[in-house]
Amino acid sequence: MDIISQLQELVNSIAALAFNTFGTLQRDSPPVRLSPNYPEPHAANPTEDAANVAEQPKLMSAALVKAAKQFDALVAALPSSEGGEEAQLKRIAELQAENDAVGQELQRQLEAADEELKQVQELFSQAADNCLNLKKPE
């Protein structure tokens, strides 16, 4: 895939990672104690929460940072735009002129080669005729 499409895909994936991160954290985080007047809230599933709740933010933020670093790497790999639009258009005009000239040269060479091919075929048919006429069956 060309580099600009890769960059676009990467931007979309950064967005997806960001809102997945926030959504998962908001959905899965355990209740927190708001005021000293109320007792500690009772955790719903003490076994699975303790392990996952600490792991997931680390994993997801690591993925987000990795995607951002990939973006920077791709941006650095972009070919630097030499000149601007006018320079490119000028180069295209030059290349077109050169292409036309080379095309005409090719055409000339091709025609000359066709001519020579015809001559050689003519000669060959004459030689074949002579061979046939010389070798009379006894």
Binding site: D2, I4, L7, Q8, V11, I14, A15, A18, F22, Q26, L64, V65, A68, F71, D72, V75, A76, L78, P79, S80, S81, G84, E85, Q88, L89, R91, I92, L95, Q96, E98, N99, V102, G103, E105, L106, Q109, L110, A112, A113, E116, V120
Partner: protein, 169 residues
């Protein structure tokens, strides 16, 4: 039992091409290419495919305008801005959860700018592809010219040799 409708008949223009084999000019010319806007299946389309600028879409532009934009640096700074805004959003959600809307708007603004910047790189990419194609075509044509010249010279040499052997015979 044909419960469904049959296909519509082909358009009747084929009758105009009855004498095409004898006289190609007696049949109508193909229609010219469309210019401007046209209607297709009830929707309006335009032939002028240009990327609308951000102001036309009502989105604030975060990177400076001008004839030559330094794409790499702008993309990098937008990326850093994006990361900072994501961190800010995380902070806001912890401290003042009711003020998330403004932060989310900022983040979506940055994304729109990023995509617009990437899309404006496309014409440049198209021209660069054209340049590359032309260069490779010139290369191939020069190669072909060289090949033909070489083969012609070889053929001439062979003919001369054959002539020499025939004469010396």
């Amino acid at each position: 039992m044909a419960a469904t409708a049959t296909y519509p008949p082909p358009p009747p223009y084929y009758k105009l091409y009855k004498d095409y084999v004898q006289n190609p000019n007696s049949a109508p010319e193909p229609p010219p290419p469309i210019e401007g806007t046209y209607v297709l299946f009830g929707a309006n389309y335009t032939t002028d495919d240009v990327l609308p600028s951000l102001e036309e879409q009502g989105v604030r532009q975060l990177y400076p305008t001008g004839p030559n934009i330094d794409f790499k640096n702008e993309l990098r700074s937008l990326n850093r801005d994006l990361q900072l805004h994501i961190l800010e959003l995380a902070d806001v959600l912890v401290e003042r959860p009711s003020q998330y809307a403004r932060r989310v708007e900022d983040i979506s603004l940055i994304f729109k700018n990023l995509h617009h910047l990437l899309n404006s790189l496309r014409p440049h990419q198209g021209r660069a592809t054209l340049i590359h194609l032309l260069e490779s075509q010139i290369q191939r044509r020069k190669q072909a010219v060289e090949d033909i010249k070489r083969r012609r010279e070889e053929a001439q040499k062979l003919l001369k040799e054959a002539l020499g052997t025939l004469d010396g015979h």
